[in-house]
């Protein structure tokens, strides 16, 4: 359940990364709003994905 929630949050983070640039392209938002949303997307992604993505890695 917790993992699913985190994955949904990560998806939101990715959407906040890609969608603002599309909205900027179509003139729906301005440059500043785009940049702010993408920064929030980065915070949401790193704040959530680290808990379910990136299992143990071999050091070879």
């Amino acid at each position: 359940m917790m993992k699913t929630l985190l994955q949904i949050l990560s998806l939101a983070g990715i959407l906040l990364t890609i969608v603002p640039s599309v909205l900027l392209f179509y003139g729906s938002i301005n440059y500043q709003v785009q940049n702010t949303l993408m920064l929030i997307g980065a915070v949401v992604w790193f704040g959530s994905a680290g808990f379910w993505l990136g299992g143990k890695v071999k050091s070879s």
């Binding site: 890609i18 640039s21 392209f25 179509y26 920064l39």
Partner: protein
């Protein structure tokens, strides 16, 4: 240092993978898809796509040449590297040691370590171009080969110190961080490209995309001071950007865990996400920017998230690279602990990073890196497929208890000398040398082995 000591230290370093991988340790296709997708969306992608634009690649060269080069790279992994890996199931180190002997492998390790340091250095410099933005550091331009300002030197030292400290602290957590960062970085690349469309004048229905791409991005004319690239450059660079890994056989270490050789095709994910979409994306955002520094270019497109991506991309590429360099150099150090060796590697890396040439000439460095290591891949290929057919012994160093297989050593040295001559005297560009070097290595190793093995008997 005595040969026996070198050999003992090398063996201890790679002790955990001395035996061929057993059936229980084999991994599914998902691991390979994830690994390649993560590894090939990296800091270098920001620079390579940008440099293609600077070298005057045309839109057809970029899209068609990139496609052909990437297909050839994937086929190299799938048809050359993976089949040997799943039959032998040994890491590159042990495979090479059986063929070449301890001393030659030691030399290979040191060369590899230095190459790793320079590659990590390029990534430190890439990160520094983003870290320096809030401090108004004067960024290097395409034509800068030497440190351009005091601010640049300080920034590079700070970034180098931080990256070295993390590499000393360990590898595993950072590798996990890289895995988490990779998908986000890919979307940042794509988003930054889309965000650059309005500045390039792309219509919202994309009707003029090709026209803009042809005239404003990949316009076919090199920037002043840059050599002119053709489709051949794009094909060969793209094919051999990871020459050390596929035809050079470094990825034997990865594919020895594959259930089937067909898993070699998993490399397509890394190639087409990283070396196609990401290169195209970084070309687009460079064309829309007013700077040559990757951090500044990404910042202009999408603000802080872009600069952050450049820092993360540079960092996640530099750290494992620095860690591996430390491992390789550890063998040559007189009993130093891991942290001291990594500190030394970090110092070499940071000093190298001071020179913007490493970033601005990254295409040449990547080609050189592949060229230097690729002949040993040809040696492994020949040993696996041709030696017994030619009536010769494979794994000759192991069978004869040799520390230095001269047939392999001479193959490497002769081909590197020949490549140097071709480049310096005949003017053949570095990008076109790895393929003949690999093919000649296969033939030369068999030929030299005929004499060498006869002499030994």
């Amino acid at each position: 240092m005595k040969i026996a000591t070198i050999s003992k230290k090398l063996d201890a370093l790679y002790e955990f993978d001395r035996e061929p991988v057993n059936n229980k340790s084999l991994q599914g296709i998902g691991n390979f898809l994830g690994s390649y997708a993560g590894e090939h969306v990296a800091g270098t992608e920001f620079v390579i796509g940008m440099l293609f634009v600077a070298h005057g690649v045309s839109v057809t060269d970029m899209f068609l040449g990139g496609l052909i080069g990437n297909v050839l790279a994937v086929l190299s992994w799938a048809l050359i590297t993976a089949p040997i890996a799943v039959k032998v199931r040994l890491s590159l180190y042990w495979q090479l040691k059986k063929i070449c002997g301890s001393v030659l492998v030691f030399m290979y390790n040191i060369v590899n370590a230095l190459m790793f340091c320079f590659l990590a250095g390029a990534m430190v410099a890439v990160s520094a171009t983003a870290v320096g933005i809030p401090f108004n550091v004067e960024m290097p331009t395409l034509s800068d080969l030497y440190p351009s300002s005091t601010g640049w030197v300080i920034t590079v030292f700070v970034v180098g110190a931080v990256i070295t400290t993390f590499a000393i602290m360990g590898f595993e957590k950072l590798a996990r961080f890289s895995k988490v960062a990779a998908p986000w970085m890919f979307f940042i690349f794509v988003a930054a490209a889309i965000a650059s469309f309005p500045r390039l004048g792309v219509e919202t229905d994309l009707s003029n995309f090709w026209e803009v791409a042809r005239t404003k991005i990949w316009n076919g004319t090199a920037l002043p001071g840059q050599s002119q690239f053709t489709m051949w450059h794009v094909i060969f660079f793209t094919w051999f950007a990871n020459a050390a890994m596929h035809l050079g056989m470094s990825d034997l270490t990865i594919f020895r865990y594959a259930k089937k050789w067909q898993y070699g095709y998993a490399s397509a994910v890394g190639m087409f996400l990283g070396h196609y979409v990401a290169w195209i994306s970084s070309g687009i955002l460079y064309a829309a920017a007013t700077s040559d520094a990757p951090g500044e270019v990404a910042y202009q497109a999408i603000g802080i998230a872009g600069a952050l991506c450049v820092i993360v991309a540079g960092w996640t590429t530099a750290n494992p690279t620095l860690y591996r360099a430390g491992l390789a150099l550890q063998v040559a150090s007189p009993g130093w602990s891991r942290w001291k060796v990594t500190l030394l590697a970090g110092l070499i890396t940071t000093v190298a990073a001071l020179f913007p040439a490493l970033v601005m000439k990254l295409l040449d460095f990547v080609a050189l890196y592949g060229l230097i290591l690729i002949p040993m891949g040809g040696v492994i290929f020949a040993d696996f497929y041709l030696m017994r057919k030619a009536g010769l012994k494979d794994y000759y160093a192991e069978r004869m208890n040799l520390n230095f297989n001269w047939a392999a050593g001479l193959t490497w040295f002769i081909l590197l000398a020949a490549a140097l001559l071709m480049n310096r005297v005949a003017g053949v560009e570095l990008y076109f040398l790895p393929l003949p070097a690999w093919i000649l290595a296969v033939g030369l190793f068999v030929l030299l082995s005929k004499f060498y093995q006869k002499k030994q008997v």
